[in-house]
Point group: C3
Chain length 353, copies 3
């Protein structure tokens, strides 16, 4: 259980930062706009300074620079107010601890090994030879097939599915409805029989430590090698990672993004949301791919990339979009005009000499 | 149970509208193309008048205007044939009634309160202190965590997940695989430790009355304030609503649309499908966002917006799309040509004066 | 159970092809890059010939043409190395056989009919009058509602949901989290009551033989007629098929694609991933729709279509994308320049005659 209230003074003793102004009892964390005198809020975006000045928050977490203009009130000064605020949220609302025990309705295979301090919810199913390490919580309705390894301190929410042979590191969090290790989309066209022939997907999925996977996200097992999500990668809801993908450490992938098979995303990159990334591509470390952006070839140089069609009123779109189909022609016309004009100018200059 | 058959005469007595022509026994509702003499169908799109004339439907629901050209057959005349048709479908196929009772395999927490006329399916899990009001149906495999409130006459299909603390109004329908209240995608970069630091998501999700949520849709809980879906909003399959979103009353969101965090969609708007809407934006009431459209900034004025790249044969696309990367340059060339031509014309005019 | 090892000689006796070079014991299938002397790999893309030459694979599956340059090693020569490789994967990893029996925690309706050699996993729910034919496997947590028919040799993974009245052919494979037969998104605006009126979705979903459906994919039931997926269609993860859609035989739909209601996709087409296809459209057989492509009107002629906005550095995108909103204007300017220049040229020619 987290704290219910804490004084500003006790807070800086625990989390650091410098207290300015009167001590205040903090009972709640909230937004600048909604805050009242026992609430703590934060100012990280300088554009919200006016809003911060108007806020009735009892305590504001701010940078030294912002502190200068927020006089006469209680402040906690820190280099990174957003991170400080994050730490405060976790102080009030720490991650739940497992209620040790296996619910009687859970179905646990005879050869599964579950650490005694784990929490296994109602109707959970654990397959043969699967190992669940210390302090891990698995909520109701989740199915973990055979030959999986789940690390320590993991938090697997309700109605998750993990196919056979997948491996999770420590402190992994999986949200409801996500599917780890379904077959990759691999098939050969069987010409003699005029039908698709399914390729066995013999790899698995390996998730590193501190990985978080959002609700209804799917990460397919590898065709031959494993699909790998490295340490501290954070993946939002409804993301799709194709077979044999490699997602580097600390990568953040925003919701609704799809990454086709065998693509590698370098460490510390930020992708999406709703980005659409082709297969067999390479995205270098520390790359940013904008929301709703389609990536159809590898990127050679780190940087910030985008490709969205600009929003317009529908009538304007109808008028403008049609020309996209003729850009090549339009370009040819411009070239021709340039040539004609150059010729004409040169002709006139000649005739006037 | 719905009706199995009804005469056209009895139908207008029940649902209104004006009967023209002979009375007909109606046993089925179907499309203009498939209809036979005991079937009822409707004409709402004037472009289908020829198809309506050719249809063998025993009864047609039409407007007064269409009635003029559909002589010699049985018609039901009404202002809004599509709505009338909708009412007929519900007469034949009303929403199922709960079969009161809790399946013996369901796992109900001791402090949960479930109205006695509710239907609770096999392997359903209901958490501590959760309240389920009158006549609500919860189908097999659904998990509702602790401290939720589910209104009257709700219909929650199989394998839904509702995280702790969420609130549903009355007559809410949730389709299979949807996840209500998973954590929003909130984390701060923890520079000193070179890793992400998760921000506790302390808000919940609040769904108003008459909300419908499609299969595998995800609606994240708020970071601080709640994520709110107002009365009668209708959300299709595989939609993603980020944390702190506010979806106004009567909004319709078509499948595969993603709306990032803290975005507000005004009442009566229609969005998508596959629309991609950024975070912290404002979309005014009664706005239409076209399918596959990316919205990256707030919209000031209601209207119909679009932004899709027009479809082409792949070879044409290759030829044309490359120029998009040089539109700025192309525009500069046009400006230069205009200047040169103006100069030349003026020079010639001068020299001829 | 599949084979653990096989000699190259025994392999060609079983699967055909021509063995060249020394016989080799094969214990594993892997990529060119990772292969060692007891591994088999394949060369199907001629661009990987250098990689094949460098590979340490004990056996390579190749075409006659590639065989010419891969001298001095063990080869299996065949017309279609990719298909041959697919067959080898299935030899080593055949589809699992059902472990006949119904798990005691499964909840089976009294009137359901389940063939005795079926495998029914833990916490599975089968509704009234549903029929499950020979050798079908249904894994844990799956819910199949009433009045469904599931063919022979189907493989339904964990946590799948199938709504009432749906029909599956033989050898259908459904991955976890997919939802078959949820209500289509159909409602009429009820003007008198200022709210949406739901249209009963009275059709079902019919899946042909050999259909495969990916994880978290949703296929909605028809409004009136059925939604139909024909034989051997292969649908990847997180795909959405709207109500009344018709997907032709042997169609492949890559992940994250959405196809709105009543659209027909002709046989042998390949769609997506992340393609966005509107409703009431017709896509002819043998059509390819590129990844991330939006289709907003019917296609008349088979071919390869695309519509993605080309990727750019964000700063270049900002500079270029703005001109899209003025393409019509740009085009007008070019027309004007052409006219002016033509006039000027003609004027000059006249004056010089």
């Amino acid at each position: 259980m987290g704290v219910n209230q804490i004084t500003a003074n006790a807070l800086v003793q625990q989390l650091g930062g410098q207290l300015r102004g009167d001590d205040v009892l903090i009972t709640n964390i909230t937004s600048l706009r909604q805050a009242n005198r026992n609430d703590i809020s934060f100012l990280s975006n300088p554009r919200l300074r006016t809003e911060a000045q108007a806020s009735r928050a009892g305590v504001l977490i701010v940078t030294e620079k912002s502190a200068e203009i927020l006089t006469g009130r209680t402040l906690i000064v820190t280099d990174d107010p957003y991170l400080y605020f994050a730490r405060v949220t976790r102080l009030f609302h720490p991650r739940g601890r497992p209620k040790a025990g296996i619910h009687p309705s859970a179905s646990i295979a005879a050869t599964a090994q579950i650490a005694p301090n784990c929490e296994i919810g109602a109707h959970v199913v654990i397959g043969e030879r699967t190992i669940i390490k210390d302090n891990t919580r698995i909520l109701a309705g989740t199915v973990i097939e055979e030959d999986c390894t789940i690390g320590q301190d993991c938090f697997i929410h309700a109605n998750v599915t993990i196919y056979h042979g997948c491996q999770l590191g420590d402190r992994v969090e999986l949200h409801s409805g996500c599917v780890i290790g379904a077959d990759g989309f691999g098939m050969a066209w069987d010409k003699p029989n005029n039908q698709w022939f399914k390729i066995a997907q013999t790899g698995a999925v390996v998730l590193g430590n501190d990985v978080e996977i959002g609700a209804n996200t799917t990460i397919d097992r590898g065709a031959i090698e494993n699909t790998v999500i490295e340490d501290d990668a954070k993946i939002d809801n409804q993301v799709m990672i194709g077979h044999n993908g490699k997602i580097g450490a600390h990568v953040a992938i925003v919701a609704c993004t799809g990454i086709a098979g065998s693509t590698e995303v370098g460490a510390y990159s930020v992708i999406g949301g709703a980005a659409m990334i082709g297969g067999h591509l390479n995205i270098p470390p520390q790359t940013t791919i904008g929301a709703a952006t389609a990536v159809s070839h590898s990127i050679k140089e780190s940087g910030h990339y985008a490709s969205i069609f600009p929003l317009q009123k529908h009538n304007d779109w109808v008028k403008n979009a049609v020309h996209i189909r003729h850009l090549h022609e339009m370009n040819q016309k411009i070239k021709k005009l340039e040539l004609q004009l150059a010729k004409l100018t040169s002709h006139l200059t000649d005739s006037q000499e």
